[in-house]
């Protein structure tokens, strides 16, 4: 996917101006998810769960070379074909080979953010393959030609009315069709696709090294169908998704569900152990593609590697008051919200993702929500510090911060500034920065006298 993260400030402003309904839809849905998460966390010893999950992930990440080798060995023993994709092109080559060899005309896809990273849909389209996103939300945005705006709820930004209009235009359903009726229409289309597709594509929530097991979580059953009905199943797995032991799933499956949606467990969990064996139904070929795409480099970054613990649960998006205003589209890349703001600079480059680490007030709500305790505020600060060091910040900001530092380093200058603030008419309309403040909040009104002056007056009165 081409990154447009540089446009974040403009796109966020434009969306708030032109599509106020998005803010309403996203705020409503994320508050709902966030409250459910809080309730679900409160039912279990969550502090201990999070600490354990963090420890397991840190262990897996710091021994990734060993676990990758073990996973590859076990997967192969299970009859799975294992591939490595360092870059999207490697994934494309493999898909092209499969499409040509198996004569694939139609593919069904389970929701996967990684395949968004890799540009799987445009690639398949260019090969003449008809691709069906089968997660309902994902299907909606595919029909609209939009990218997902949330890791778990890709269509979180849409209102019922927009979906009714979309289905009315596409399928001729009445404009006031109920959500159930709309889901039935989608179901009919997707059932047909499941039954006729030659290729099923998925991501994975976890890959267990000791058993070579792919674990996939979902609520709609579409992942189960996408990975079991077509004769070929290709799973794209980021290398950070490895778990050492099968028993780790006992912690990670419920923890992820509680964090993501507040469920105790997702409605479906598929544990995939390879292609169909003799006498079984299921895919003839299962491929696991272990994807790097910047992850190894991020792992080697001593200040930013912790981002790779991410489970893609979306809890930080739901908790983030900045994300809630716009949803994910203005962020301009696959991963949005707080995790996107610290992951995208690592996966892309800081230059390409520059404004994202600033898409936060450092309120800390993300850290409280994160099931694996990724120190997002600290990582945001790290990326900001690097951005300044690399000279990516705008000139006005550098000038302002330099002036600020000069004033604050000298109490004498600070007092002078204090006088100027009261004595001189503030050029409220001239300084763009001041205008950015006053436009939405009215003029800045300093106290008649600053405290340091009141203190002197108090002390003089006190002494007498």
């Amino acid at each position: 996917m081409r990154a447009k993260a540089k446009l974040y400030p403009k796109e966020a402003a434009r969306l708030l101006r032109e599509k106020p309904g998005v803010r309403e839809a996203v705020t409503g849905a994320t508050l709902h998810f966030d409250r459910n998460r809080l309730k679900a966390y409160a039912e279990v010893p969550i502090a201990e769960w999070r600490e354990r999950a963090k420890a397991v992930k840190d262990h897996a990440l710091s021994h990734l070379d060993q676990y990758l080798e073990l996973a590859e060995k076990r997967l192969k023993e299970n009859g799975v074909q294992v591939h490595y994709a360092e870059e999207p092109e490697d994934a494309h080559r493999l898909l092209r080979e499969i499409v040509e060899r198996r004569g694939v005309k139609r593919a069904v896809k389970a929701k996967s953010m990684l395949t968004e990273e890799l540009g799987v849909n445009p690639l398949l389209a260019s090969l003449g393959v008809e691709v069906y996103e089968t997660d309902l939300g994902e299907y909606l945005i595919q029909l609209l030609g939009e990218p997902p705006s949330h890791i778990v709820g890709p269509a979180i930004h849409l209102s019922l009315k927009e979906i009714q209009t979309l289905f009315h235009e596409r399928f001729g359903t009445p404009l006031d069709a109920s959500p159930e009726a709309l889901a039935q229409v989608a179901r009919k289309v997707l059932r047909e696709a499941f039954l006729t597709a030659e290729l099923g594509i998925s991501g994975a929530n976890f890959l267990v090294a000791e058993t070579g097991t792919l674990a996939l979580m979902e609520n709609e059953g579409n992942i189960r169908l996408s990975t079991s009905l077509p004769k070929v199943h290709v799973a794209f797995v980021g290398i950070e998704k490895l778990l050492p032991r099968f028993q780790d799933l006992a912690l990670f499956l419920p923890l992820t569900a509680r964090a993501a949606t507040g469920q105790r467990l997702s409605t479906f969990v598929s544990l995939i152990q390879g292609p169909a064996r003799k006498g079984e139904e299921g895919p003839e070929e299962v491929h696991v593609v272990l994807v790097d795409h910047g992850r190894t480099a991020l792992l080697a970054d001593p200040e930013a590697w912790e981002t790779l613990r991410c489970l893609r649960c979306g809890a930080c998006l739901n908790a983030c008051p900045v994300y809630r205003q716009t949803g994910g589209h203005p962020y301009g890349y696959v991963y949005s919200g707080p995790i996107g703001a610290v992951l995208d600079p690592g996966l892309l480059s800081l230059e390409e993702a520059y404004p994202l680490p600033y898409a936060s007030t450092l309120c800390g709500a993300c850290l409280e929500a994160c099931p694996v305790k990724i120190p997002i505020p600290k990582l945001l600060l790290t990326w900001r510090h690097r951005a300044v060091a690399e000279g990516l910040s705008p000139a006005w900001e550098r000038a302002m911060l330099a002036a600020y530092r000069r004033v604050m380093e000298s109490p004498a200058l600070y007092r002078l500034f204090s006088k100027a603030l009261r004595g001189l008419p503030l050029p409220q309309d001239l300084l763009p920065l001041l205008r950015a403040w006053t436009e939405g909040r009215g003029p800045l009104k300093p106290s008649p006298k600053p405290f340091h002056q009141l203190w002197r007056e108090m002390e003089e009165g006190h002494g007498r």
């Binding site: 400030p9 966020a12 402003a13 708030l16 803010r23 705020t27 008051p321 900045v322 809630r324 205003q325 716009t326 680490p357 600033y358 898409a359 936060s360 007030t361 450092l362 309120c363 800390g364 709500a365 850290l367 409280e368 600060l381 990326w383 900001r384 510090h385 300044v388 060091a389 910040s393 900001e397 911060l401 330099a402 600020y404 530092r405 004033v407 604050m408 380093e409 000298s410 109490p411 600070y414 204090s418 603030l421 950015a436 403040w437 006053t438 939405g440 909040r441 009215g442 800045l444 009104k445 300093p446 106290s447 006298k449 600053p450 405290f451 340091h452 002056q453 009141l454 203190w455 108090m458």
Partner: protein, 236 residues
């Protein structure tokens, strides 16, 4: 016990009366209060924006200014967290930074945690107060109950506010770097605000931002810093 008041630059300029209130209150509670005049800004705006090289000299001079104090008390959760949590990160290996971090408190946390005060007086009897939890006080310092305890103890009625713990959208430079998002966040706070007589918080930045937005939207709600209300709680 000697306390040095760190007024913080925003309160110094925009909520000067909060400083007077804090001094009066601490003195009334038998604390000796000093105001080291060399103080300016803690450096947080630079630190949070990524300008750590600009923040370091400000942190170092703050360490010097408050070297002598038994305690440093700030009428701000955000600046207190800068000193307590971020100075040691900004100046790794600095014993002085760790030392100051230990002596530094947000005002209400100092009153409850160090002085052991639970009741200041009856001065807020029947007053309907909306309390905005500043994010850094709440999530970085863990100051949640202290202000509520002191306000309620003085007879105030704290109005239930579903967004009380949500960020107001100030965020320092964020407020001008992403003004539209910042205002949308303030609007959510304002839209959920129940009927109250006064809106308060530990942090001058949040209050400046929210007060500006309230007046722009024509909502005639009084905004007062927590220190001002705590003095009122004591003095009536």
């Amino acid at each position: 016990m000697r306390v040095a008041l760190f007024i913080t630059c925003l309160a110094d300029q925009f909520f000067a009366e909060a400083g007077v209130a804090a001094v009066r209150l601490l003195r009334a509670l038998g604390v000796e209060v000093d105001f080291p005049e060399g103080q300016t800004c803690c450096g947080q705006p630079a630190f949070n924006a990524g300008y750590w090289e600009g923040a370091r000299p400000l942190a170092r001079r703050t360490l010097e200014v408050f070297r002598e104090a038994d305690y440093v008390v700030l009428p701000s959760g955000s600046c207190a967290s800068m000193v307590k949590n971020h100075y040691p990160e900004l100046l790794p290996g600095s014993q002085k930074a760790l030392d100051l971090a230990e002596r530094t408190y947000e005002l209400s946390a100092f009153l409850v945690g160090v002085l052991g005060v639970e009741k200041l007086g009856e001065g807020l009897k029947g007053k309907r107060i909306a309390y905005h939890h500043g994010c850094h006080a709440l999530r970085e310092l863990g100051v949640r109950e202290e202000p509520l305890l002191l306000l309620k103890g003085a007879g105030a009625e704290l109005v239930p506010w579903e967004a009380a713990e949500e960020c107001c959208g100030f965020g320092g430079l964020f407020s001008v770097k992403l003004p539209e998002v910042s205002l949308a966040m303030a609007d959510r706070k304002v839209a959920t605000l129940p009927q109250a007589e006064v809106l308060t918080s530990t942090d001058a930045g949040c209050l400046l931002h929210l007060a500006g937005r309230l007046s722009k939207k024509g909502v005639g709600l009084k905004v007062a810093p927590l220190a001002t209300l705590l003095w009122e709680a004591y003095a009536g």
